[in-house]
C-alpha cells in the first residue's frame, strides 16, 4: 500500500484562482516541473536542425542571408548606408525574430498541443515557457555570428556586451507575455492568431529592424518618440549598442518605459492565462 496519509485531505481539483494567486501558482509550477522544462527545451534545441547537413550553422546562415537581402534592398532604395549597416540588420532581424517567434509560440501553446493536453495533465503554461526558452537559446547562439563581424569592423569586446543578453531576454519576455495573454482567446477564436501574425509582420517595419534609432533623421524627432513607444525598440537597440560598445542613444525615460512594459506585459499575460486556461481547454 502506498503511504497516502500525508495527502489524505480532499483538495478541489483545478480550483479557480484569483489573479495574483494565478501568478504564484505559475511560479510554483515552473519550479516543480523544471525537469520537464529542461527536457522539452533540450528536445527543441537538439531537434531543430536534425536531419540537415549544416545543422546548427543554419542559425548563423539564416540571419546572414537575410541580412544580405535587406542590405541589397536598402542600397537600391536609400543609397549607400553606413558601413556597419549589415551587422545592425542581422542583430535587428534576430532580436525581432525572437520576439515574434516567442509571441507566436506562446499564443499557440494551447492550440498546437491539443493532443497532449487532452491526454495528460501538466501545467499548460510550460508549453509556452519551453518554446520561448529554446528560442532564446538558439537566438543566443546565433548572436555568435557577430564575433567575426566585430573583428572585421575592428570593434573590440567591451562591458557593453552584457547588454546583449538583457536585450534578448526583454524581447523574449515581451513576446511571452503578449502571447500568454492571447493564448486563451486564440483557443476560442483563431482570428486572434491571424490578426496578430499580421501585426508582427507590420510591426517589423515600425521597429528599428532594417534601420537603427540613430539613423532616424533628427529633423523628424517628434516621430521618433512614437516609434520608441514600441517596447521592442529598446531591446533591439540594446543588443546593437552592446555589440558596438556604445551608449544606447535613447533617453533613460524611454528605456525605463520599455523595460517596465516588457515586465508588466509578462505579469498581466501570465495572470490572464492562468485565469482562463482551465476554462477554455474544453473548447480545444
Amino acid at each position: 500500500m502506498p503511504d497516502i496519509s500525508h495527502s489524505a485531505e480532499l483538495v478541489e481539483i483545478n480550483a479557480p484562482v484569483s489573479w495574483p494567486r494565478g501568478l504564484a501558482q505559475m511560479w510554483r509550477n515552473l519550479t516543480t516541473h523544471h525537469h520537464l522544462i529542461n527536457n522539452f527545451v533540450r528536445r527543441d534545441v537538439r531537434l531543430r536542425y536534425r536531419d540537415s547537413a549544416l545543422g546548427y550553422f543554419w542559425s548563423l546562415f539564416e540571419p546572414l542571408l537575410l541580412a544580405g537581402v535587406y542590405y541589397v534592398l536598402f542600397v537600391i532604395i536609400a543609397g549607400k548606408p553606413e558601413p556597419r549597416y549589415p551587422l545592425w540588420i542581422i542583430l535587428g532581424v534576430m532580436t525581432w525574430g525572437l520576439f515574434s517567434k516567442s509571441l507566436n509560440d506562446a499564443m499557440t501553446c494551447l492550440t498546437r498541443n491539443e493532443g497532449m493536453i487532452k491526454q495528460v495533465y501538466f501545467p499548460r503554461e510550460l508549453f509556452a515557457f519551453t518554446s520561448v526558452g529554446s528560442s532564446l537559446i538558439i537566438t543566443g547562439l546565433s548572436t555568435l555570428v557577430a564575433v567575426p563581424m566585430m573583428a572585421m569592423y575592428g570593434i573590440g569586446p567591451s562591458l557593453g556586451l552584457l547588454m546583449v543578453p538583457v536585450g534578448l531576454a526583454l524581447a523574449g519576455l515581451f513576446g511571452l507575455g503578449v502571447g500568454l495573454g492571447l493564448a486563451c482567446a486564440n483557443v476560442v477564436n483563431r482570428d486572434v492568431e491571424f490578426f496578430s501574425r499580421f501585426l508582427t509582420r507590420a510591426g517589423m517595419f515600425m521597429s528599428p529592424v532594417m534601420w537603427t534609432v540613430a539613423m532616424a533623421p533628427k529633423t523628424r524627432a517628434p516621430w521618433l518618440k512614437y516609434l520608441l513607444l514600441n517596447p521592442v525598440a529598446v531591446p533591439i537597440t540594446m543588443v546593437r549598442s552592446g555589440i558596438e560598445g556604445k551608449g544606447l542613444g535613447i533617453s533613460a525615460g524611454f528605456v525605463t518605459y520599455s523595460v517596465c512594459a516588457c515586465i508588466l506585459s509578462f505579469l498581466f499575460g501570465a495572470m490572464i492565462f492562468k485565469r482562463f486556461e482551465a476554462r477554455v481547454v474544453k473548447k480545444l
Binding site: V11, Y121, V188
Partner: protein, 261 residues
C-alpha cells in the same frame, strides 16, 4: 477506516458542439468570445454527476461511446474544469490514456522514456531508477537506442505503456488502454494493470471489455448520456448494461481499421 479519495459533487460539464460560425454577420465574431447573445449549441458531457470513491475501491465505468466515461476521468485528472459543481480528490493521480503522448520520432527509445516520463511528472533520477524495469517490461532492449521513427506502432504502444505503468500512483485512472500491442503483450499488460490495481489507493477503469470490469472491479457504474444510470456490484451493473449491437459492430470495425494503419 477507508476514507474518500475522490468526490464529485453535482458536476456538470458542457462542450461546445460546433466550431464558431464563420462570417461577421450577427456579431459572430464577438459572440465567439461570449460577448452578446449566445446562440451556441452545446453538448452536455456530464450532467449533474455526483460520485464518491473510497480508498481501496476499484470502480468500473461502463457505457456507450460518448456517454461521458472519458470526460469523467479527465475531470478527475484535472484536464477539464467542471462548469458547475465541485470535484475533489486526495492524493496524486495518474491517467493511463493516449499512451505515448509527446513521443518524438527523431529521438531514441531511451530518450523518449525520459521525455515521456518527465511529462508524467517524474524526475530524471526517478526514471534512472525505473529505466531497467521499463525496458525489460517493454521487451524492446535491442531497439532502445534506435530512433523511435523506426518503431512499429505496436512497439511504440508497448514502450508508452511500460513507462506509463511503471509508477505507483495513489489514484489510478485507466481509459481503454487494455487492448495494446500483440496478444502476448496484451496479456502481460493486463497482468501489470491487475498488479497496479492491487497496490493503488483507488482505481477507476473505463472499458468496453465487460469481462475485465467484472474481473477487476469491486464496484461499477453505468454512465449514460452524462448521467450515472446505475451503480452497484460489477456483475449486476454489467448485466443491466446491454451494449447496442449496431454500436459494438461499428466499434469493432473502427478498431480494426485503426490497427491496420
Amino acid at each position: 477506516m477507508s476514507h474518500t479519495t475522490i468526490l464529485l459533487d453535482h458536476v456538470t460539464l458542457t462542450f461546445p458542439r460546433s466550431r464558431i460560425k464563420r462570417g461577421l454577420k450577427e456579431g459572430a465574431f464577438l459572440r465567439s468570445f461570449g460577448i452578446g447573445a449566445s446562440g451556441e449549441e452545446t453538448f452536455t458531457a456530464l450532467d449533474d454527476v455526483s460520485l464518491e470513491v473510497k480508498q481501496g475501491e476499484v470502480l468500473g465505468l461502463v457505457g456507450r461511446n460518448g456517454a461521458g466515461k472519458s470526460t469523467l476521468l479527465r475531470v478527475i485528472a484535472g484536464i477539464y474544469r467542471p462548469d458547475k459543481g465541485v470535484a475533489k480528490r486526495a492524493g496524486q493521480v495518474s491517467l493511463l490514456a493516449g499512451v505515448g503522448v509527446g513521443f518524438h520520432g527523431n529521438m531514441s527509445g531511451r530518450e523518449n522514456v525520459y521525455l515521456y516520463g518527465s511529462i508524467l511528472g517524474h524526475s530524471p533520477r526517478d526514471i534512472d531508477r525505473m529505466l531497467d524495469g521499463i525496458i525489460e517490461f517493454s521487451g524492446l532492449r535491442d531497439f532502445i537506442d534506435q530512433p523511435l521513427r523506426t518503431y512499429s506502432s505496436g512497439m511504440k504502444t508497448r514502450l508508452g505503456f511500460s513507462v506509463a505503468s511503471a509508477v505507483q500512483p495513489e489514484i489510478l485512472l485507466i481509459d481503454e488502454v487494455l487492448a495494446a500491442g500483440d496478444a502476448e503483450f496484451r496479456e502481460r499488460s493486463t497482468e501489470r494493470i491487475k498488479e497496479m490495481v492491487k497496490d493503488a489507493g483507488s482505481v477507476l477503469i473505463a472499458s468496453h471489455s465487460l469481462g475485465t470490469i467484472k474481473e477487476l472491479c469491486n464496484r461499477a457504474i453505468l454512465v449514460q448520456k452524462g448521467k450515472i444510470a446505475a451503480s452497484g456490484p460489477p456483475g449486476e451493473v454489467v448485466d443491466a448494461y446491454v451494449p447496442p449491437a449496431a454500436v459494438s459492430d461499428e466499434e469493432i470495425g473502427s478498431r480494426k481499421s485503426a490497427s491496420a494503419t
